[in-house]
Symmetry: C2
Subunit: 487 residues, 2 copies
């Protein structure tokens, strides 16, 4: 396993100083043009060379008739041309000295024998010239830290810590907006398409070394290079967590995968076993894939599986407790010391069993600093799960009735919610124990947004939070096992 990302062949592909683009034109509806727009929209700062047989300029940029005409050998070629001319273009790129390529064009192995022959030709050319390429039949790559986006969808999110390698392009592009809702973003993301030259294993190796990547997400329709995957993953997970969504395990999933990327999927249980052995956390669905990444990329190492649940409402507390039990997390009674410290802060209607349900807070401020502080100080508590209800509209309504204007009230209410969130985040940070929130309201509310920005994940509903906490514990359990087996 390499230690320095810059030594990996994929480094240049997602950190190019210049890009040649084949397929962009002045026809706004073409895929190549969309990719050019995505690149420019993101503010890519390198040099961009559209290559076009007839146009002098493409979308306002100087265009070049042939790759030979380019003033330099760019770091990356992005190819979105008709299938029949892809091989000759790749060869021209190789001759020019281009060493990385993204082949978006489809019509290769996934369409049958003839396509497979065309794909073998690409591999032969790449080997001849020492070109590393991703695809064909892929959607591109993105590295928001380098303002690079070679997909046809604009990247509207922020740079983040999730490194992604996917056998489906949609699990790259469709996640721009999805991750943004949770304050997450990609560090780098790869759509591997048919994996003719670069596959999930290559991406895993690169992302393991890549500095912005705190957690790696894989979308898989099969496990490529089984032995290599297993031994590499066992090394990677010692350093950073890997979460995988594998959809080929069921009958219909297997059939769909086969016609999608020509991947032969393996039986579900066998694959679950491989993932476990590799220390890779298997997500049951897309939601879990990124929920797990959120927790694993944000939270400190839990010392165990004992959860304190803090709430001011019984139902959400009970639902959280139930979810913990169903996922192998303990919800133990608090220590006598903690109970003693809690007593003066909670009203007589409160229940200080775990869940700690304060019902109505005597002083709302306590709920956000003293209470979490007491819970996280308890040596019998490894993690805290807190019900988050600080509705913008209600606080504003209260404040408005003090005689403030709607604008002033809204502003004050935002300030107040942000201060509460800071109190929680400060308390959580101090203890170095995992702290998660959950809410049924929109995450766009100030309190949740601020908590999320401060690195405290707030999940929509208790069950998603608890599943993510399970993943966090499971990762560290598997990691410990792998570490101790190597000692």
């Amino acid at each position: 396993m390499i230690q320095n990302a810059a030594d990996h062949p994929l480094h240049r592909m997602v950190n190019p100083r210049s890009v040649a683009l084949f397929g962009a034109s002045n026809n706004f509806a073409s895929m190549g043009t969309s990719i050019l727009h995505s690149l420019l929209h993101m503010g890519y700062e390198g040099r961009v060379y559209p290559v076009h047989r007839t146009e002098e300029t493409v979308q306002g940029l100087t265009a070049y008739k042939r790759v030979e005409d380019l003033p330099e050998a760019p770091d990356l070629a992005v190819i979105v041309l008709p299938t029949r001319v892809v091989a000759e273009t790749l060869e021209a790129c190789g001759k020019k000295g281009i060493r990385s390529a993204v082949v978006v064009t489809a019509g290769f192995r996934e369409v049958g024998e003839e396509g497979a022959a065309r794909e073998a030709e690409l591999v032969r050319i790449a080997e001849k010239y020492g070109v590393r390429f991703i695809g064909p039949n892929c959607i591109g790559v993105t590295n928001p830290h380098a303002k690079l986006n070679t997909t046809f969808l604009p990247f509207e999110a922020r740079p983040g810590f999730v490194g992604m390698a996917s056998q489906s392009g949609s699990f790259v592009t469709q996640m721009f907006d999805y991750l943004d809702q949770y304050g997450m973003g990609f560090s780098s993301a790869f759509s591997v398409g048919n994996s003719a030259d670069t596959d999930l294993v290559d991406c895993l190796e690169y992302l393991a070394a890549e500095e912005h990547t705190k957690v790696i997400a894989l979308y898989m329709e099969g496990i490529p290079r089984g032995r290599e995957f297993l031994s590499l993953a066992r090394e990677v997970v010692q350093k950073k967590p890997v979460v995988a969504l594998y959809v080929g395990g069921s009958e219909a999933g297997r059939r769909a995968s086969l016609s999608h990327t020509g991947t032969l999927a393996g039986p579900d249980r066998l694959y679950s076993g491989v993932f476990r052995q590799a220390g890779v956390i298997r997500a049951k669905n897309v939601t879990e894939l990124f929920d797990f990444c959120w927790a694993l990329g944000s939270a400190p190492v839990p010392r165990g599986n004992r959860v304190a649940i803090q709430t001011h409402s019984g139902g959400p507390g009970a639902a959280a407790a139930d979810a913990c039990s169903r996922n192998g997390l303990a919800v133990p009674p608090l220590s006598p010391e903690s109970l003693e410290k809690l007593a003066p802060l909670v009203p007589p209607t409160a229940s200080v069993n775990n869940p700690v349900d304060v019902t109505f807070s005597k002083n709302p401020q306590d709920f956000f600093d003293k209470l979490p502080d007491i819970l996280l100080s308890d040596p019998g508590v490894d993690m805290c799960l807190c019900y988050c209800l600080v509705p913008d509209d209600m606080a504003a309504r209260h404040i408005r009735s003090l005689g403030l204007s709607p604008e002033e009230a809204a502003e004050k209410s935002r300030e107040w919610a942000a201060a509460m969130a800071d109190a929680v985040a400060d308390t959580a940070a101090k203890h170095e124990k995992p702290f998660f929130g959950f809410t049924f309201r929109r995450l766009s509310e100030v309190f949740c947004q601020r908590l999320i920005a401060r690195g405290v994940p707030v999940f929509p509903g208790p069950e998603r939070a608890v599943r993510a906490m399970w993943a966090l514990c499971e990762y560290h359990r598997l990691r410990e096992k792998i570490l101790s087996s190597g000692r």
Copy 2:
């Protein structure tokens, strides 16, 4: 089981012509004042009488010193007073002729023996005067169709078709905003609190007859009056679906429920058996509870469990197919007739196996009318699940490049997305087969919003859609079983 909702004692509680409010004041921070604000905020059109010992007016309304002073016997009393004066207030209400009450105040059975005695006293008074009351220790009731909201949180959503009865107030108030995201809302919702007089069974009976309620959601920490629940539910589900979230089945859930509402929960498997026998669909979590309601309240009766999956992207299609297989739904090959009809509409890279993955649409319009029309016409297809990707920003970007201003482009793109959504909705409606969408993007996008407004649920992710489709099939299977056992 009653047939006419107006004959049920709960009818007047959620359709009052006048309300007496005990506990509202000029202190904006009190719970009673919040409730008054909620009531006024929603535009309640009946008469509102704040009762307050000392104030002449409360939040701008004429206040009355004692219930005896009220100019009429209001249809409903809402009581948010200190625990010790609740009984005398209820008695005064009874004497005045008030016949419905919501008792929000806590400090009864849930706090132990003394509280239980206080609660028994309330029941005695209610019986003496023929008062029906909900609570104590509840959060109130809401009937958005009558602009009634007696909870402390403002109702920001729309009237809808979900009838809710909950042992947790939060699963009423916190769902206002939650349901709104999915274009749903409550028909009526009841927080039963300690269920001293009105329990889930009473609410179930009322909601079964209530005309706006298409589907009933229950949040339960135990099953009250087991035999009556079972026999009533078996009648109700013949008429409309019932979905239940039961959280008392696990060890921590059981303990939390006990300290929350004093409910003794039963073992999980036994309860699952009771629900099945009752024809009630059990949801695994809050998300499922309302996802199931969405599907059950929107979709026509499926003739079977065979799903056609329509996508233009392989990964989401494979994930959807995998989810179907895991939930007992079939994803069968299409009929030769359907394949023949599809052939001219899809590009050579398409896969017309089920999932039908068109990859890139030849003509986007086809994707939204001709394709669903072909799939839904297939006699081997009972339901359709469609990947929804019509991003506002991308369409606008394309249109902008035609030379339109950003505002014009945004407007055109909205019109276009709405027209596409209408095409899908029209096609789906014509066939009277369940049709569902899924997306990874925000539901706030025009295309999704329009589909949702047209009654086509669009779920965040394929797995949630598939679970809801499972619930739809399961309900009709159980209903058929109950119907045939009664024949």
